[in-house]
Assembly symmetry: C3
Homo-oligomer: 534 residues x 3
Amino acid sequence: MIWTSRWPGWRGIVVVTAAVFVLDSEPVRAEGWPTVPDELFTALGLTRDVSASDLYAAVAARYYDQAKGYGEGKFSEMWEPTALARYLDPGLYQGREALDFEVTSADCATCHETVTPGWVHAANRSVHADLQALRALPADDPRAYKVEHLDEVEANLRTMGKLAEGEVLAEVACADCHMGVGVKAGNHKTDLRLPDGAACGQCHVRQFSERESERDTLTWPQDQWPAGRPSHALSMIANYETAIWAGMAEREVAEGCTMCHTTQTSCNQCHTRHEFSAAQARKPEMCANCHNGVDHNEFENYMMSRHGLIYQTNGDNWNWEAPLSEAFASAGYNAPTCQTCHMSVNGEYSHNLVQKVRWGFNPMPSIAENLDHPWFQARKELWVATCTQCHAPSFATSYLDMMDQGTIQGIGLVQEADAVVKKLYEDGLLVGQADNRPAPPAPDADTHGGFFGLFWTKGNNPSAVEHEYAQMWEQEIMRHFKGLAHVNPGGFTYSYGWSELIGSLARIRDEDTRLREGAALEKRIEALEAAGGD
Amino acid sequence: MIWTSRWPGWRGIVVVTAAVFVLDSEPVRAEGWPTVPDELFTALGLTRDVSASDLYAAVAARYYDQAKGYGEGKFSEMWEPTALARYLDPGLYQGREALDFEVTSADCATCHETVTPGWVHAANRSVHADLQALRALPADDPRAYKVEHLDEVEANLRTMGKLAEGEVLAEVACADCHMGVGVKAGNHKTDLRLPDGAACGQCHVRQFSERESERDTLTWPQDQWPAGRPSHALSMIANYETAIWAGMAEREVAEGCTMCHTTQTSCNQCHTRHEFSAAQARKPEMCANCHNGVDHNEFENYMMSRHGLIYQTNGDNWNWEAPLSEAFASAGYNAPTCQTCHMSVNGEYSHNLVQKVRWGFNPMPSIAENLDHPWFQARKELWVATCTQCHAPSFATSYLDMMDQGTIQGIGLVQEADAVVKKLYEDGLLVGQADNRPAPPAPDADTHGGFFGLFWTKGNNPSAVEHEYAQMWEQEIMRHFKGLAHVNPGGFTYSYGWSELIGSLARIRDEDTRLREGAALEKRIEALEAAGGD
Amino acid sequence: MIWTSRWPGWRGIVVVTAAVFVLDSEPVRAEGWPTVPDELFTALGLTRDVSASDLYAAVAARYYDQAKGYGEGKFSEMWEPTALARYLDPGLYQGREALDFEVTSADCATCHETVTPGWVHAANRSVHADLQALRALPADDPRAYKVEHLDEVEANLRTMGKLAEGEVLAEVACADCHMGVGVKAGNHKTDLRLPDGAACGQCHVRQFSERESERDTLTWPQDQWPAGRPSHALSMIANYETAIWAGMAEREVAEGCTMCHTTQTSCNQCHTRHEFSAAQARKPEMCANCHNGVDHNEFENYMMSRHGLIYQTNGDNWNWEAPLSEAFASAGYNAPTCQTCHMSVNGEYSHNLVQKVRWGFNPMPSIAENLDHPWFQARKELWVATCTQCHAPSFATSYLDMMDQGTIQGIGLVQEADAVVKKLYEDGLLVGQADNRPAPPAPDADTHGGFFGLFWTKGNNPSAVEHEYAQMWEQEIMRHFKGLAHVNPGGFTYSYGWSELIGSLARIRDEDTRLREGAALEKRIEALEAAGGD
């Protein structure tokens, strides 16, 4: 397929340009990227006086590095991309079959006003469409902070030689995003690109670097997760390297997983094209694009928490155009959103959302056992600082302790269930285990209550009791933890979480007794038969 | 009960009037009802130059035709309407016991301002209450399009002799809807009616005809569904002719089904009395009146899709007073609603919502097998046209293909389960099947995993494994499809749909093995007993 | 722990003051507390000419009376409060370890602007912060009614000697709520209090008395529930005296229950500190703080009912600043909220939400059997009056009848299941019952399908079939009833309620057959073994 041909990425355009400007020793930004964590500079061998051009070059180079999480990953031989894949991993699959002619940004608008009018209307409403209108905002407009953003973008582009000294950016036109910043025209068949994260990063160097720093700030002290994961920056490779995802025959169903894992490959998951409304991206529902459902119901828990219910009853009085740093002051928030808690560290907001992560998505014993390690303690203190924007430190601490203890109590139920199901598996007593248990598709391998059993079944694999257990460790304990973490009592006490885990454990023990009694009964029949055969 | 007496319907008032005007050869509307599909004219033996009066007469006559879906249906002998029924099927059950006095519309308001003040306040806020205010709207008001609607209504009424040439409609008063258009007074006991669809259709001929055309545009090429179904226009008869609905002893619970099936019998389900706000009817939550829950969770899937989340985060900036045709342009939508996709065909909006239906509510093998038939292909192309308002044609096509493939994959799981349960039923191995399986109430009949088993149980009918299977074919596969159709990845991958089907199939196979092993064990005991008896 | 020391409560401050003023024979309020039900006056031995000071003294004294529901309840020896408890029951657990210095309200704001800025910003937005701005509202402002409230508060305070004749309240400052009305300064360590319900009641005597009257108006004629319950006024004692709550080892999970049961101990659950927006408290989502989830899903049912969907589509046009009494008139509501139905009795609104309660949370046979008792009939008539604000009396009556019948039908299914599970328990046939059934923790005791089994499991207690049954009687029947009560057809017909009950009953009967067949089979083997031993 022509469109599956690999595309070299924006690095092809920008990295070289950057190299030129390094020699020019472009003046560095005085503030030294304060919202980009130290860990990124260390990982990339940079210092804080790096120019925008160099910073972008280094971050983009790693973004495109197959050894560091770019591309189809270690199971790539086992699956074929669907036709939809090029929209989900726009850097990876590019190219089109026809429309071999030159176009300018003006041509784009003219033609697409008919072909796909929604794009054009949305783009026309965006800040990108009229930077002059942005510059004209009165200083007391809540959006006035965007003028500083624009100044920063222009400074970035000057370090890259994309804008001359004193020159201002007139607009962000179609080709700037779809062909490269500053490109005025190109061939519709060969030059046009669906923008990936690095495409946005050309102008938004700071935000791109913040997001990419997630790889560096989430290095687990006891290797609970691979380095830099789970994070938005490495979400797509996490998808590609999930064994059952790679092994499933039903590629269209599997692509449902891919649809959420695009935060690595695009900025569009939170910043909806082509309007790119920041106000919209500040709302909790934007996070719900991915953070909903049976195994990570953050959205549901937030919305039903006191915080979320205040948002639902009062949020229409908050100023969504104001920057997050103004949330509790001039913007009038009287409750947090996803964004205010997860994007802030000590009052500073950035696009790195994992700097305070402790339990990391799925609460595991290996985390529970290490919560007093300094790495976890330091992060807990960052949470206390976040909560004390509106709560007493003693309240914050007591709730965070309760959340940890409640989570550990839930993990205990999962461990009890695991022991029961594992023993049944080892004793060969699972239904159909003796003669009707096909292995899951490669690269996966059989185990008791494996993740694969939530998406694949053949013969008696998984058995019913294993499916119940898989729901416990992969869904119920996560809902339990997410309910606790988002202060939704029903989410961890009586509707989800604990009460679900109790029900599942009771059914698993019931089944354990039943299977063992059945086996004993069969032995007695065998003995009778053997006796009868005497 | 007096109120169960049959009422002849608005046809009694209007059809005759219409007949008179046909003779007068009223000038026809030049545009020839462009939003009413050809199929309706063909079915009713009309041509596009038909007058409003004649069109209404023909559509209303069919609306009231018991041979064509009006009334209580083929199982009517088997059930009694509850006292609530007259509000759910207002054309069918009419009449009241008392209040035998003459009233005018002004009397209604005076008295009901005390008795039921909510009615009067809501009506006073409606467009109906002050047509002069409507006519005075400036041309650039987003509601100005309603003036054209009013012109059209007046033209309609002139063809019916309800309005003289040059006369304008002053208001729509209580009696216009509750006694007949133009009626000024009547008897509160004998003349008052709860308006049905045909009552609204007296003025809104075009919209009524569009809605009624659903009967004509959904004629399945391989008879997958009865002609004209599933549709809003025939929803009530579908309810009455559902066997378990008719057979259930618990009429009050059964009436819960009826409460949603009123789109045939009333316009009120979408156009809330007495305010009749069009802006309100444009919002997705209005569709959720019916389209929610375990077997048709369109609303939940939409709301959790990217489309719905954009609506939730940005919808308060959209102009809901603007007509749907302005949605993506001046009204500022940057995502679709239920209405923008399901009410449009090639950019033209109407009250026929089924012109692009392909999978039709419950994805069946008989649809899956015929997707390359021209009838289905033509409809798929209409979907591509809808999606390309905002998406590239290649994206639209690739997603629609993915949706079809994913649905087919889900159907495969249902078919596997069906084979297992059917065989157990045929082999007489279901729990309690031998001696404790009462038949469902007439007019239903026993089968394996029948629909009845979701609402009725007696003895061991349905058995647990059948109930699981019934949930698969009637709920899980539908959620799977609806998730795919509404682009909600969790809806078809990990939260609902596929992962639910996998769990159910695993449990069904587990039970199959267990029941067959149990039967084998019992045979061995019988053999031992027989041997012992020797 | 220092903070667990008991605090004497606001009565220590106010009751004595009140006593002084009784002797002064303060002039009584002419209106005689019309929104406070008779039952409260009777219960407290007061007459309607009681002064605000005396009324508050009597209501607060009962509020703090351990014999009448204050404090940790009858199981208090069995559990220890978590560190979070002092925030959930602020009257009970007070005190702090440090910060031993004098502070004024101005000091609070200065310091907490840095420590917990969210508090200060929210308080500054509240009506409390600027009473002069409130007094300056034009008469046609929807909030103008609050000026009357302020007048009433000032009149109350004058009866208590907190305000001199002719003196007006300047502001409600930090110390007024956290140290006592009129207190200007105090010690941060020893004088500071987290406000409980009685703290708010110092000024808001009427509202506090209305809320506390819930204890008096809900006295069940056949003792279906303890007197005054279930209600907001006695919610915390209901929590403390739930056996499994008291007995659970996992205190942090149990505290999840406590988090909702704070309506007795605080006003903050509905009136969010420190903004105290009345508009916010009028919105349905505020009730969802507690009224959501598996066993009392009022919120979900409301939101998916026609009423709730109208709120969702049109609510942004309603004037939330207007008082509830204006809802259907000038405020423009065209559907009810939780508040409009549950806070009103014959058109009069109050903070007693249980005056029309009939089914009381969990539909029991003992209620079903007594629905024609005058106590229940009178309440049903109050409901008809509520519904007829917008519906015909005949509609209201027919729906309320349907709701009752449908609920009774659901109870029938629960009773059938109870008989099956109880018999299995009595026959000793439950899985593991013979040798692996530990008792639940004290103060709970073993029973078939007990409430404890939803939160605790050990060995084979509860067995799987009991867990299923517990879900029926404690969750599914409640969802069924709540769906009926809130007019959400899917909530009682096909998504929740009835169809869930049917599925559970089918599975319970399946298990019954299976367990009895298994026992019979084992008997046959025993017989064979005995025969073989001959």
